[in-house]
Assembly symmetry: C2
Homo-oligomer: 266 residues x 2
């Protein structure tokens, strides 16, 4: 998907909601366990219920990988089921030496046909560049993550800049706002302004609103640009809104609530 | 596997060789493609041929993941086939927020029963600690990797230290030489001495000898400790030593050659 297509979808839905598909067999409604593929059945119903309000879906790859090959099968069916005009993110946080990154890029962009993948930048240029060789596909670099441990290394500072700032600046040697986005946690609202200065036109994928304590208004204040420029992820609050047979309706209601809050920024 | 068991194996084989199972359907001998599971058949024969000389096997997870669920099946059979007294490394370079790292830990330590997994430390404490909760299992943290891109961020330096040094030091808040190792590339031989100072008893997993230009003697000069303290990885030079029907014999010959070179350090 191109940047223009993503922006068009955002404006048409008045939404910048990314729904995280962190699907856990221990957390889905128990009646689904009777289906042949409970994970896919859950995702399918969540997608049907929320696709009017979401512009992106983000399966958290760990949840599928932990189930072995049946998890990967469920992932494959899920990604094929997502409507083609909705942006897809493999939240895999990959990154390795060049030939290995190429393998990961093929896995997620060709085999599974994701639009994008999250990338851990620690290993530098040759770990990122192979993902940029695919037309209309995206690398989403971890810049400043939402978790507690983000303080351990991402704030390492040389004379000029924090490590997370260096990651953002350096990435423009490799790509641009048409093929690179950044993960910027909602829990660091004030730092978002400095990242926005470094990357005025880039999309930010923002986790950490809700359960982790981040606030949408703070995020928009510091991180939005004049094309919106952010995707705000919500997983548990939507997909586990109910554990009963009404889980899909409950998910739709939560997604609509977030979309309605987002619509005020258009 | 415990540290004592690993050291015992190293001394008994006079080897610190890790064989990288970077198994690629496009690179294995073509006659294997007639088998029901060519990847597993290749690995099985490589393991049979090299297990006398190797103390560790390191499947590069990208290569399996890129094949979809049949790749994961081949991985599962491979890991079950490796003799129990040989150390196993999932070269996956994972790392995510706490609950997601827990999922990855379960996937690799419980479902696949690996002894260890390589971890990207960029996301800090809660991305690493979940891997340390498993008895006799190991996290192998990327410190200073062997690739060109290692220069982009790993040398980011504050007043006191490079980022890779900070990773090593900080990790001792979370674990110790019984459950954490470090990836230290053979291509940075002189820096290995400073990492060894920071982590005198820890094992280093060393990629980059051979094809990438690293030299075993340089590595041993700077990185060895009085219990050896290193695992040197070799993949392509061993597993693709021949593309013919003699591939397993050729792999055995290369592995033995490396082991014989290693035996001089005992």
């Amino acid at each position: 998907m191109t940047r223009a297509e993503l922006i068009q979808q955002i404006y048409s839905k008045k939404s910048f909601l990314c729904v995280g598909l962190d699907t856990d067999p221990n957390k889905i409604p128990s009646f689904l366990l009777e289906f042949e593929d409970p994970i896919f059945e859950f995702n399918k119903q969540i997608i049907d219920a929320t696709s009017a309000y979401a512009v992106a879906y983000k399966p958290n790859i760990a949840f599928y990988e932990s189930l072995g090959s049946k998890g990967w099968d469920a992932l494959e069916k899920t990604i094929a089921y997502i409507p083609k005009d909705i942006f897809t993110i493999a939240d895999a946080k990959r990154g390795d030496i060049g030939n290995t990154s190429s393998m990961y890029a093929k896995a997620f962009f060709e085999h599974y046909d994701f639009d994008s993948i999250t990338i851990n930048p620690y290993m530098g240029e040759d770990s990122v560049v192979p993902f940029l060789a695919f037309k209309d596909k995206w690398a989403i670099l971890l810049a400043l993550t939402s978790n507690m441990g983000s303080r351990d290394f991402q704030y390492h500072k040389d004379k000029e800049e924090y490590l997370y700032e260096k990651v953002v600046k350096k990435s423009f040697d490799w790509g641009n706002e048409e093929n690179i986005m950044f993960v910027t946690g909602a829990t660091h609202a004030s730092e978002l302004a400095s990242i926005r200065n470094l990357a005025p036109k880039s999309f930010f994928l923002v986790p950490g609103v809700g359960a982790q304590g981040g606030d949408m208004h703070e995020v928009m204040k510091y991180a939005a640009n004049d094309e919106i420029g952010v995707l705000i992820n919500s997983a548990r609050a939507i997909i586990y809104a109910s554990k009963g047979e009404d889980f899909a309706d409950a998910a739709a209601k939560e997604a609509k609530k977030m979309r309605d809050e987002m619509a005020r920024y258009f």
